[in-house]
Assembly symmetry: C2
Homo-oligomer: 359 residues x 2
């Protein structure tokens, strides 16, 4: 199968801190991105806007974007106000008519739009609404605990601390050691990068763990290590249910705890000065306690997000975390991810030995 | 507002162990049930079938049922195979035409049935699909921690151990002590009994805690004690996400741990001999640890479901639980619920004192 060639719509909001989904696809699939549609930065390169991405051009019209050879148009930001602007609708229609598939991560499902759906049917193209859950999800039944592959889940001190990015930074290093490694996406950005997965926060509550189980089993095929993308946090008042469903559905043997060094309060509750983020060692205890209630698990390493710190503060944050928890810690984007890769490989070896012993 | 008068459809499956929803409505709202439609037991009384429910008649046709003065037809069992049989469809249409509302707890939404919806619109009647979540649910933001009422959530060692029934058995006793007590329903049966609530296991995963928060706030109005109906179990591989969303969304100060004395394995995982139910004291630690990560909480009592034990075994199970956990324990259906009511009232008094201290 030919890998898709993406034209990414990030109109009006393309930048290092704003277009998270677009940026992640560019970072991890640079060879597949043919261009970005953004009228503000049109005429320049992605490198000039993001600081990475090289010569990928930024264009002002769908016509220019299609001329770059796109096979998939990917919606890489949420439009202001959440509703699809009329001109985006026109762009998407134009892309379908020209023979492109559409990958959409918005809460609004484009396959429900009668006009776009009819045009896609006429042209034999697909509109993939990445947040639309499959209709036949199972209730989890613990199947993930029996896979041969070593399952590793990222868990966090909060939302948006780098759970997906941390794992993606480990893939190459794990493969370089001869470990067949798969990444299992549980959110829209990861799904765009991998081309498959389920947005678990969008499924009906009864099926969080079941959805996780299904994709973990799929990722475990022909793999030595499965990296399952975590979501939320076990003490996040809004999203902890999703986090626990993931933890019990994936049955991971190893956990990587992710934290943003400069963050003091959970998520959006800062204004109320509610829920100060407790020490990392508390999270280690909490995740191991609640995770092991279904399947034995342990935290094997810490990934520290230090993007807003200078280098010495970043190194100090990692060292402090190591001292506090006794676990290896690094910022896998900024520094060498080897300490975390070592820890995972060692824990996987213990896992394999335990399985062999049991016969 | 006149309380609704229910005709319950339980055709072909009406019995002590089969029609759980129907039976709970009959047990807790006996004065509102005018009849049960079940062709198998037609001509007899509910008492003869269930062992409670008195002279409420069982009838064979919708015409007879409507003649008993029903204002709401309630679907009290799931039909075999899940699909609505043709004759049920005809009964429901007949009831709507006669001026009844329909309360439906099935996964299949009857308001989506064009024929039934049109007939209801014509007659000005309502089809209430109790498992259909509201469309405007919030992400939880911790508002439930600030209510004046004392919030109590039931938590369990497994699904279907008596979390709803335990709380409903406490309502009268709490009110008799002058405590204004509201029950907050989170499942279809509770919603039928109370006439309002949200089936939290049917909401999209991101909104489990938000849905719980909304109904907890509603239940806390003009109340001294709010009993929030729990779901699932914190170590249930399929449903733990729902359980934790409820725990973090409701921000309960007090928990009641529910267990069925004779059960050894979690839910449907018995065949695999997986997940033996750990000791009650483990559950106390687990629920307090994970709950207090968002809002301080403690287990105040144990409710033991002993329906399948003889009386001496039942008393022994309660005593063993008290000895193990140091908490009061009773079967609130079989024995006097006073020990649990005492414990709740005492914990509420401590809660009020803490709030008063803080000013």
């Amino acid at each position: 199968m030919t890998p898709p060639r993406f034209l990414i719509i990030a109109d009006g909001d393309f930048g290092p801190m704003t277009s998270k989904t677009a940026n992640s696809v560019i970072r991890y699939r640079p060879g597949q991105v043919v261009g970005v549609l953004d009228r503000v930065n049109a005429g320049g390169t992605v490198q000039a806007v993001l600081g990475f991405g090289g010569a990928i051009p930024v264009v002002a019209t769908m016509r220019e974007g299609l001329a770059l050879g796109a096979t998939v148009v990917l919606i890489g930001i949420a439009p202001q106000g959440g509703r699809l602007p009329g001109e985006w609708h026109a762009w998407i229609g134009e892309a379908i008519d020209a023979g492109c598939d559409i990958w959409n991560g918005l809460h609004t499902f484009l396959s429900d739009d009668p006009d776009l759906a009819a045009r896609a049917a006429r042209r034999g193209r697909k509109i993939l609404d990445l947040r639309k859950p499959p209709i036949d999800l199972p209730v989890a039944s613990g199947l993930a605990k029996d896979v041969e592959a070593y399952v590793c889940l990222t868990v966090g001190t909060d939302c948006n601390v780098g759970k997906m990015t941390s794992q993606l930074q480990l893939v190459d290093g794990l493969r370089a050691r001869g470990l067949r490694t798969n990444f299992v996406a549980t959110g829209q950005t990861g799904i765009m990068i991998e081309g498959w997965g389920i947005a678990v926060d969008a499924v009906v509550a009864d099926f969080i763990a079941g959805a996780t189980e299904r994709i973990t089993l799929q990722g475990a095929k022909d793999a030595d290590i499965v990296l399952v993308e975590g979501q939320g946090s076990i003490n996040h008042p809004g999203y902890s249910g999703v986090t626990l469903g993931l933890l019990h559905g994936a049955c991971p043997s190893g956990l990587i705890l992710c934290h943003q060094a400069s963050r003091e309060y959970i998520g959006d509750y800062r204004q109320a000065a509610w829920l100060r983020i407790p020490p990392l060692s508390e999270y280690v205890k909490l995740y191991e306690h609640i995770g092991s209630a279904v399947h034995p698990t342990n935290v094997v390493a810490i990934c520290m997000n230090t993007y807003d710190l200078d280098e010495s503060a970043a190194r100090a944050a990692c060292e402090a975390a190591e001292l506090e928890t006794g676990l290896p810690c690094t910022d896998p984007v900024r520094f060498d991810p080897a300490p975390v890769i070592d820890a995972l490989a060692a824990d996987r070896a213990r896992y394999v030995a335990r399985r062999t012993e049991r016969g």
